[in-house]
């Protein structure tokens, strides 16, 4: 068709005229004068038919065959285009949707007739614009009117081919625009301002298309191809806009925008790459589902917090003391005592954090109580105290803030009311990228469906509920027994170790000396396994089971930790008694020293005594710090060894012994291990708790923990990917993050309790640490206030800390909390109410639409009956058959060609639907 068109009318004048005609026609069609338009169209159709009868070439035939039904549909539509508005609507819709879909088809068409297209499209664009802004339109219309006169003549000559082209052109217009723009780009100077305007508009439209593409109800393929095309188009022609200098500027601007966008995207990528271990975690997530990944994310978060704690202690405590404080060997507290000097460098001693490690910045005892050190006048004791308080305060802040954020995120729907819908639409974990895990997930979803159905059935019967309840109670009872047993064992071991300590540690073997740590680690390792076995009795959903498991392990660890702390308290008391004795002896010793030295030389008695020889107190703070460090170390070692033996060695054995074993090791008995999310999370949390507890007495603890977390990140990532298999029941863990956080908060609170207790109630050692010589550790604040701040400040502070002021303040805070709590509760209630209302409305709507559909179907039937009675008595049987169908049949796509014959125009309920049904009448007639 197109070729034909070109060959017939290539003369410029005619072409222009014809295009004018088209412009007019289309523009008018859209804007106004619908009746007139229809009339004209009819005329046009008549002309077209005549022409088609007369001059149909071979090429045209070909073309027709190609275009097939599309053209037919078009023509049909033209027949009924009296419905101007609807038609316009449809045109717009098709213009949008047609753009990409027709690309391939149209490629052929576009090959030859670029010139023609160009012009026509320009005008078409103009028409569009006209539609948009009324004022411009009017003027152009006049012009059109002028041109129409010319056109009428020319039109006579013209074949209907051009006409047909017009019919199809709306679908093609995008492509044609592209083609046309290609032309233009070659010589952009030659563009008229209108064309430029048009081009700009096209570019804008493309941009808009790209933006709104996501929301379009198209298949993905189409979307992608459309997107690609539009982007290409933009790339090509965006720079071509503007003229001369302006054009260059515009091009530059566009280029810069593009560069900026690219930079932004790269920057985003860079930022993602900067998130430590992000790719690793994503990979794990794809293999094991989000519950395992949530552990690693938690680990990373913990690492971040520990980095900050480490920065605080390292930067404000350890480094200043090491750089500006008195050097090693200058004071008794900074020197290894004479008795230990020989073994102070032994590995065994250092491994136990004795010897030189004990007398270093790593521990509390090394710090001097000098008020200000170095040329900076760094207030060391104050800094030590504030850092200790600051780490805890910071931790509280971070944990609570994260909890609040998580709570906001997880404010979604309730899982109970639409159980099956939730399962149906939300149970897939889209982060899974591993076929095996996907299989597992698939299986778990199917089983969960089965289970849910069973549950639903059983919830009506509820005969088995007593058994379940009994089993759950039994399981809890067993767990209780287990907890009590482990608690007693630890208590027993601690008592024994105290006995050993009284005997002197050297008389006992390594096993006996490390009994407490060993037993604690072993119990912490094995009891969760037992709990796991017991929890199979309970038959909970895995997510709930995980929470129970976490709770139980939590209780176990807490019991262990507190037993340990109680033992430590006993030891502190022992040390303090020892300290009293030492203090007394010191005075005696000093007196004897002076007595001995005074007669000889009265000027410099202390010079003769080396600091290593000075007797010293036991320094319980360092002892506490050492205990915690040892605990952390042994805990870490246990974790790593379990990992290596329990996971890696097992995996290796299973993998390689399987070749020569009498049963299938991989599928059967030992199998590969699964990643134990709950145990690992709790291990992490308790580890952190110990850090918080011990960090005050051993500033090296955060550093150690950072090291440990770093190593375990790599080690566990590797171990998971290399020796674990995906869990059999993969489930989403999006909700459990806040559960971890809550536990962390509890642990934080419980671990700060003993630390604060010791700080507040027990006086510091007299000869070691930054607070030596003070009656309480927090006296350092008072001291600073008195000496470093102006007098009025300390006065204000003392007023402020007056109970008379503090108590009302506390009361106010409590009131505020109560108020906020109650308001949030009322909001929550309102939310629930709203949700209920929404549901009700939904149901109502559903009912209503159902009713409307029914009514429409009935109407249709009536209409059909009426019709058949009127004109079509010949085929009553057929209509009857048809009449039964529409209720079940899917609505026919809208095709807006209303019969000229009078189908009753009664459109109740939802007009479109009924219309869709009503227009089936003509098809009936055709039978």
């Amino acid at each position: 068709m197109t070729k034909c068109g070109v060959s017939v009318l290539t003369t410029g004048d005619e072409d222009e005229v014809s295009s004018c005609y088209e412009e007019h026609e289309w523009g008018k069609n859209r804007v106004k004068g619908r009746e007139k338009e229809r009339e004209k169209k009819k005329r046009g159709n008549a002309r077209k038919k005549g022409a088609s009868r007369a001059g149909r070439g071979d090429e045209e035939l070909e073309e027709r065959a190609e275009r097939g039904e599309k053209g037919r549909r078009r023509r049909k539509r033209d027949n009924h285009d009296g419905k101007g508005r609807e038609r316009d609507e449809e045109e717009q819709a098709e213009e949008k949707s047609g753009r990409a879909a027709k690309n391939k088809k149209n490629l052929k068409n576009e090959r030859t007739r670029k010139m023609e297209q160009e012009e026509r499209d320009t005008e078409e664009g103009d028409a569009k614009r006209k539609k948009k802004n009324e004022s411009a339109k009017r003027e152009e219309k006049k012009e059109d009117g002028g041109k129409r006169a010319v056109k009428e003549k020319a039109n006579a000559v013209k074949t209907k081919k051009h006409k047909k082209k017009v019919e199809t052109s709306e679908e093609e217009d995008v492509e044609e625009e592209e083609e046309e723009e290609k032309e233009k780009e070659l010589r952009p100077e030659s563009l008229s301002p209108e064309e430029l305007e048009k081009l700009k508009e096209a570019v804008d439209e493309k941009k808009k298309l790209i933006q709104t593409l996501r929301g379009k109800p198209w298949p993905m393929k189409k979307k992608l191809s459309t997107l690609r095309e539009s982007q290409e188009f933009l790339e090509k022609y965006e720079g071509a806009l503007g003229k001369g200098k302006g054009r260059r500027l515009y091009a530059y601007k566009v280029m810069m925008t593009k560069k900026w966008m690219k930079f932004q995207r790269d920057f985003e990528n860079f930022k993602t790459a900067c998130i430590p271990w992000e790719m690793k975690i994503k990979e794990i997530e794809s293999h094991f589902g989000s519950s395992v990944a949530s552990y690693f994310i938690f680990l990373r978060w913990m690492y971040g917090i520990n980095m900050i704690l480490f920065g605080l202690t390292f930067g404000l405590v350890m480094v200043p003391e090491a750089l500006m404080g008195r050097p090693y060997g200058s004071m008794p507290r900074k020197t290894v005592p004479r008795a230990d000097e020989a073994s102070a460098m032994d590995f065994a001693v250092l491994w136990d954090f004795g010897g030189y490690a004990q007398y270093s910045v790593l521990f509390y005892g090394y710090y001097n109580n000098q008020r200000a050190i170095g040329w900076l006048k760094f207030r060391m004791p104050l800094s030590y105290f504030l850092v200790g308080v600051g780490t805890v305060a910071y931790s509280y802040m971070v944990v609570i803030r994260t909890m609040a954020r998580n709570a906001n995120e997880s404010g979604g729907g309730d899982d109970n009311s639409f159980n099956f819908s939730w399962k149906m639409f939300t149970s897939w974990d889209y982060l899974i990228g591993n076929p095996e895990t996907a299989d597992n997930k698939f299986a778990s979803i199917t089983t969960s469906f089965k289970e849910a159905i069973l549950e639903e059935q059983e919830s009506r019967k509820d005969d088995n509920i007593h058994l379940t309840r009994f089993l759950r109670v039994l399981a809890n009872f067993l767990v209780m027994c287990c907890l009590a047993g482990s608690g007693y064992l630890i208590y027993f071991v601690v008592r024994r170790s105290q006995k050993f300590a009284l005997d002197g540690l050297d008389n006992h073997s390594w096993w006996e000396r490390n009994e407490v740590n060993m037993v604690m680690s072993l119990l912490g390792m094995f009891c969760p396994m037992l709990f796991d076995v017991i929890s199979t009795l309970e038959n909970y959903h895995p997510r709930i089971a995980l929470q129970w498991q976490l709770g139980r392990i939590f209780a176990l660890f807490l019991g262990n930790l507190y037993t340990f702390i109680i033992a430590l308290m006993d030891e502190i008391n022992l040390k303090r008694k020892e300290e009293e004795i030492v203090k007394f002896n010191m005075t005696v010793w000093e007196a004897s020293l002076y007595n001995g030295t005074v007669p000889e030389n009265s000027t410099a008695p202390p010079v003769t005594i080396h600091p290593a020889d000075v007797p010293r107190g036991p320094c319980w703070e360092t002892m506490v710090g050492q205990e915690f460090v040892r605990l952390i170390i042994s805990d870490t070692m246990t974790t790593y060894i379990t990992l290596l033996i329990g996971d890696f060695l097992r995996a290796v054995l299973v993998r390689f012994l399987n070749y020569c074993w009498c049963w299938d090791l991989e599928a059967g008995f030992p199998s590969y291990s699964e990643f134990d999310v709950s145990g690992n999370v709790l291990g992490l949390i308790f580890n952190q708790g110990m850090i918080w507890m011990g960090a005050f007495y051993a500033p090296c603890l955060p550093a150690l923990n950072v090291l440990r977390l770093h190593v375990s990140m790599y080690l566990q990532c590797w171990a998971v990917m290399c020796c674990n298999v995906p869990q059999e029941r993969v489930f989403k863990a999006s909700g459990s993050n806040n559960f971890y956080m809550a536990m962390l908060l509890v642990i934080l609170f419980l671990s700060t309790l003993p630390a604060i207790y010791t700080i507040v109630t027990i006086p510091p050692s007299f000869d070691c640490g930054p607070f030596s010589g003070k009656s309480r550790m927090f006296d350092v604040i008072q001291e600073t206030l008195e000496s470093d701040f102006p007098a009025w400040f300390s006065k204000v502070f003392s007023y402020a800390s007056n109970p008379g002021l503090v108590l009302p303040f506390l009361l106010l805070m409590v009131l505020a909390i109560y108020y906020l709590q109650s308001t949030s509760k009322s909001f929550k209630e309102a939310n629930v109410e709203l949700k209920k209302k929404l549901q009700m409305q939904n149901e109502e709507n559903k009912k209503k639409s159902k009713r409307a559909a029914l009514k429409a179907a009935m109407d249709l039937e009536e209409a059909r009956k009426a019709m058949t009675q009127n004109g079509r008595n010949a085929t009553p049987l057929l209509t009857d058959q048809e009449g039964q169908l529409p209720a079940t049949r899917a609505p026919v796509p809208r095709t807006y060609h209303h019969g000229n014959h009078g189908a009753p125009g009664y459109l109740p309920g939802i007009p479109r639907q009924t219309e869709a049904r009503v227009h089936r009448a003509p098809s009936l007639q055709r039978h």
Binding site: F526, D664, G668
Partner: protein, 262 residues
């Protein structure tokens, strides 16, 4: 010297292991300890003991009662890895659906599965049982006769020797149904032999027992990869012991695709 407290700390581990793997312990006890003890005490083999029990407790000529007696003995007295009643039902169903005319059984053991299959076969079908061990074979023969079947052939020979000779010696063209319950290691070589000898026609079904426990991983891997079969695994538990998961692999031979079709 390890202190008792540390030893006590291992108690949870021991308890966990015992609870988690209790079925395996039970299996070990029943299938091994009891067997060794009875072997020493009676001087008869396990299969002979089972046969004696069946002889005294079952009605001759009634396959169902024989099977029931076997089940009784295996679940109450001692353990023999027969196919068992539960997995047997799957076998029965498949046979009913398939109604094969030629059935090959690899690993007759003491004839339980042979009786079970013979019961479900259509009229005129023939069952070839292969058993490697002479003593077991005699017992199987007796059991089969006791059940009143004589339309089957018991071949006493290792399966990998029998399969290539099936066509020449026994005049088999194709095998419609193969039941594998012999050494799990032999599943794969025997399957390949069957393929190689051309005994499998399109639609021939192969049922392999115990593919999960004790397990035949290589067999499963091969089946998955070869693409010659439509396969599925019937999940079940090990015969006569509840808690151990096991499965039967059902393969339907599809022939070599593509290559010959073109």
């Amino acid at each position: 010297m390890v202190s008792p407290a540390i030893a006590l700390a291992f108690l949870p581990l021991v308890v966990t292991l015992i609870i988690r793997y209790r079925y395996y312990f039970v299996l070990f006890y029943r299938a091994f300890l009891v067997r060794v003890w009875q072997d020493c005490a009676t001087g008869l083999s396990r299969e002979e003991r089972a046969f004696q029990y069946v002889l005294t407790n079952a009605t001759p000529g009634d396959p169902d009662s024989i099977l029931e007696a076997f089940d009784q003995w295996c679940s109450k007295v001692e353990f023999i890895s027969n196919i068992g009643p539960k997995k047997g039902k799957i076998l029965d169903r498949l046979l009913m659906e398939q109604s094969p005319m030629t059935v090959l059984e690899l690993g007759a053991h003491c004839g339980y599965s042979a009786v079970r299959m013979a019961r479900c076969l259509p009229l005129g079908a023939r069952l070839y049982s292969v058993e490697m061990d002479q003593r077991n074979a005699t017992i199987a023969e007796k059991v089969i006769r006791l059940a009143g079947f004589d339309d089957d052939t018991l071949i006493v020979s290792p399966s990998d020797e029998v399969i290539p000779r099936l066509r020449s010696d026994y005049g088999l063209e194709t095998v419609d149904f193969v039941f594998m319950d012999h050494w799990k290691k032999c599943y794969l070589p025997d399957l390949q032999l069957l393929e190689g000898s051309g005994l499998l026609g399109k639609g021939s079904m192969i049922l392999a027992d115990n593919v999960l426990f004790p397990g035949a991983p290589n067999f499963l891997r091969y089946v998955r990869k070869s693409g010659l079969y439509e396969w599925r695994i019937h999940q079940a538990t090990l015969e006569y012991i509840r808690g151990i998961r096991d499965g039967m692999a059902e393969l339907v031979y599809q022939g070599i695709k593509g290559g010959r079709a073109g």
